[in-house]
């Protein structure tokens, strides 16, 4: 099943399919290891519901839902 990272539920895990962001945001995502094939697990939401915290490539990354909305995922579990 495909969906965007911002639609993930806590503890849901998936593989990155495609990055739809542009420019600075795209570059930044790549630099942080968010590239096609990378495994991401949604760890938690901030108290106000946004941003989100994910585990990727063995470390903790936080990003906003706006940005997560540009990361297309293949749900694994």
């Amino acid at each position: 099943m495909e969906k965007y990272l911002n639609e993930f539920l806590v503890n849901e895990e998936g593989k990155v399919k495609k990055i739809e962001a542009e420019g600075k945001i795209k570059r930044r995502l790549f630099d942080m290891g968010v590239t096609p094939g990378a495994n991401i697990r949604l760890k938690k939401l901030a108290p106000l519901g946004d941003p989100i915290e994910v585990t990727i490539r063995g470390y903790e990354l936080t990003l906003r839902k706006d940005e997560a909305n540009k990361i297309l995922m293949e749900v694994v579990k």
Binding site: A46, E53, T62
Partner: protein, 738 residues
């Protein structure tokens, strides 16, 4: 020889730098940008080796000043060796930067830092394997424990003598072909042709700009390559290749003992500190204690709650920096018995002793110099008093900074940004700007320095611009004095509270205005690592504080001292200055006040015979905000002699809240903002204070004439603000939709 340290943020580079260079470290700015440049020397190898600490970066793309600085340094200044510091606990992402560094024609060695933590977890990293894969030396170190450092330096030293040609990890045949061809076009034109070639293929902004001639060829070549899912996005193709290489090769070099899935210490701490409900209250409590320990006169409320006071001469002198006699005299004057004092917080305690120290020096010098001459006045009242006003707030500034550094080093600050980001985004700021703004309630100087952690230059400028609106500690005496004047009419504490609130409200409104009418449409991205928690290192903290202290003294003190001496001159001499010193009423400053009175006239408080005195007080307030009160007192304006209406008093308070902060803060703003941003900031402070003070006075005046009319006007104003806000948010949405 010159070695450069390069690595991701949070990889322990700073600790390594401090271990290598010890006391030789010094900090400057990279030319043209506000990124710190730290340099020092390593002396244990016979030859002195310069160590340059490059800013922490995740890649060599040109999107942040840090990245540009690091890249230019490595590519153009040819260090003899790059020591790539890699966090061994987070190998995968850290090696991404490594794959880029390897493409440059400079010797590289890899320092696997935090190897002690890795071993503790029972994990082994196969160093030889890594070495043979990467084709550069790999050494295991622990910067924290000082393990393997000298061995690393020896290896780097021998590496630096052998020329190295850049290599790439990219394996895709078509891509390798393309890279080779592009590299050939660069050959002879630049150093590190491989690096430039790959960056140009990635459509890197800087390369595209600098090598238009080659670009066309590269484009045609690119068109012939089928990139499958990536649809011609070579930036993605290259990044993908790098990570593929890393996952393929390095999974095998790490041997984990026990599955790793175990909950880490950081996870446990985060369960509490980023808890959905408790995180915000916990954060507020932490910040409260930070402020309490720096600014409170009554430590842990021991006096207010338990009635704990000290009254013996020895202890009072100890806690107040030899202030017993003064307190006694004060009590006597007020006709009360001296009962004792509360135990102060460390910040207040240190400040008292700093006051004692500078006071003693001034007394000493004043005692030696002949009385009443102009040069005694210059040295004592001008120069030394100026120095004193800088030093008087240094203990609290440094202590506040120490606490913030502890929070930052531990990894908590990143969590604060995570917790608060949502609330701040609406105003065009990110969660990271919350800390600097909050610190503004203490002192603008450390607050503005703290904006260093903001990546986006615009956000940094905006945060600096708003900082003084959060009424700082030095402004409190002004509100206290004015409150005592208006207290006859309504409650003083409500007056003071309303000033603080007013500042916050205006800051929010201002942020929205700047967001809506600003030229940037792009919100700075918030994609940030939440580093593992670790215990802050005393050595790092002290080095950090010492740097800040030097930086502040060096950068700010020149401007501050010069300004203070200027104001001293203006307030002690008349136009015929060769005739000697005069009373302040006859000084140049008084005349300036009389001129400025005309400018300030519409604001209410400059009307009447005393008008010039208020103008003068707001000028001397630039030295230190508490000087507003001191100047007014010396001009005979105190409770009982102030004849302003409430509206004018409020307008005066508001003016001083929003106008230029003290010189120290202005100097800090200058060194932390962009050049253009700083000019806008100054204009912004001057305009905002004038306009707001004007509005406050006339609305207040109306209220005094007729409550109903006044109330109506206030409602109309609020309605207007709401309407503008609605219009603005609509416009913003339209902007975002684009």
């Amino acid at each position: 020889m010159k070695f450069a340290l390069a690595g991701n943020p949070n990889c322990g580079k700073t600790t390594l730098f401090n271990t290598l260079t010890g006391s030789t470290a010094h900090v400057g700015n990279w030319p043209g940008v506000t990124v710190d440049k730290r340099e020092g020397t390593y002396k244990k190898l016979g030859e002195k080796i310069d160590i340059v600490d490059l800013p922490g970066i995740y890649s060599l793309s040109p999107y942040t000043p840090e990245e540009v600085v690091s890249r230019n340094f490595i590519v153009d200044e040819h260090p003899d060796c790059i020591i790539n510091v890699v966090d061994a606990t987070n190998l995968e992402r850290n090696l991404y930067l490594t794959t880029q560094l390897l493409e440059i024609d400079v010797p590289v060695i890899i320092a696997l830092n935090m190897i002690d933590v890795v071993r503790q977890r029972g994990t082994t990293i196969l160093v030889q394997e890594l070495e043979s894969k990467l084709n550069v030396p790999v050494v295991e170190i622990s910067a924290l424990k000082g393990e393997g450092i000298d061995a690393m330096m020896k290896k780097a030293y021998s590496c630096a003598r052998v020329k190295r040609v850049g290599q790439t990890v990219i394996e895709n045949k078509d891509l390798v072909n393309l890279i080779e061809k592009t590299k050939d076009e660069f050959a002879g034109k630049v150093s590190s042709p491989l690096f430039h070639a790959i960056k140009l293929i990635e459509n890197d902004e800087l390369e595209v700009k600098n090598h238009q001639d080659i670009l066309a060829d590269v484009k045609t070549m690119k068109n012939r390559i089928d990139t499958g899912d990536f649809a011609g996005d070579f930036e993605a193709v290259v990044a993908d290749e790098r990570y593929k290489y890393i996952t393929k090769n390095f999974e095998k070099t790490i041997i984990r003992k026990n599955g790793e899935e175990k909950e880490t210490k950081s996870d446990k701490i985060d369960k509490v500190l980023t808890h959905r409900i408790w995180s915000i209250p916990i954060f507020l409590v932490i910040m409260f204690f930070v402020f309490h320990l720096v600014f409170s006169e009554d430590l842990f409320f021991l006096n207010s709650i338990f009635g704990l006071e000290v009254s013996s001469k020895g202890w009072v002198n100890f806690f107040t920096g030899m202030g017993y006699e003064d307190l006694l005299a004060e009590a006597l004057e007020a006709g009360e018995a001296f009962t004792g004092i509360s135990i102060p917080s460390p910040g207040v305690f240190l400040q008292s002793w700093m006051g004692w120290l500078t006071g003693s020096v001034i007394d000493l010098v004043a005692g030696v110099l002949p009385e009443g001459t102009w040069y005694t006045g210059f040295i004592v009242d001008g120069f030394l008093t100026g120095i004193d006003s800088i030093f008087s707030f240094i203990p609290q500034v440094l202590l506040l900074f120490l606490f913030i550094s502890i929070l930052e080093d531990s990894g908590y600050m990143a969590r604060v940004a995570f917790i608060m980001d949502r609330a701040f985004r609406k105003f065009g700021l990110s969660g990271k700007s919350f800390i600097p703004l909050l610190m503004g309630f203490g002192c603008s100087v450390p607050a503005m320095i703290a904006t260093k952690t903001l990546e986006d230059e615009k956000e940094r400028d905006l945060t600096i611009r708003l900082t003084p609106f959060f009424s700082c500690g030095a402004k409190a005496p002004i509100w206290a004095m004015l409150a005592s004047v208006v207290a006859g009419h309504f409650l003083g504490d409500i007056f003071v509270f309303s000033i603080y609130l007013f500042g916050i409200v205006i800051a929010i409104v201002a942020a929205i205005i700047m967001k809506v009418f600003g030229k940037t449409k792009e919100v700075p991205p918030f994609i940030m690592e939440l580093p593992a928690y670790h215990r802050p290192q005393a050595k790092n903290l002290l080095a950090h504080l010492w740097e800040k202290f030097k930086h502040f003294l060096y950068k700010a003190s020149t401007i501050i001292t010069a300004s203070i001496i200027l104001i001293w001159f203006l307030s002690n001499f008349g136009w015929a200055f060769w005739k000697g010193m005069v009373e302040i009423e006859d000084s140049i400053l008084a005349d300036l006040g009389r001129v400025l009175k005309v400018v300030f006239y519409p604001l209410g408080w400059a009307m009447g015979a005393d008008g010039w005195k208020y103008s003068v007080a707001s000028i001397t307030g630039l030295i230190a905000k508490e000087d507003v009160v001191a100047t007014m007192a010396s001009l005979g304006l105190e409770e009982g002699t102030i004849s302003l209406s409430n509206a004018a008093i409020y307008a005066f308070a508001v003016y001083n809240l929003f106008t230029l902060p003290c010189f120290a803060a202005v100097a800090t703003a200058k060194s932390e903002s962009s050049k253009k941003g700083f000019r806008v900031t100054i204009a912004w402070w001057l305009t905002a204070s004038y306009v707001i003070s004007l509005a406050v006075y006339w609305v207040g005046k109306l209220c005094e004439l007729s409550w109903i009319v006044g109330l109506l006007v206030i409602l109309v104003l609020i309605a207007a603000i709401v309407l503008v806000g609605l219009y603005a948010s609509g416009k913003l949405k339209a902007k975002e939709a684009k």
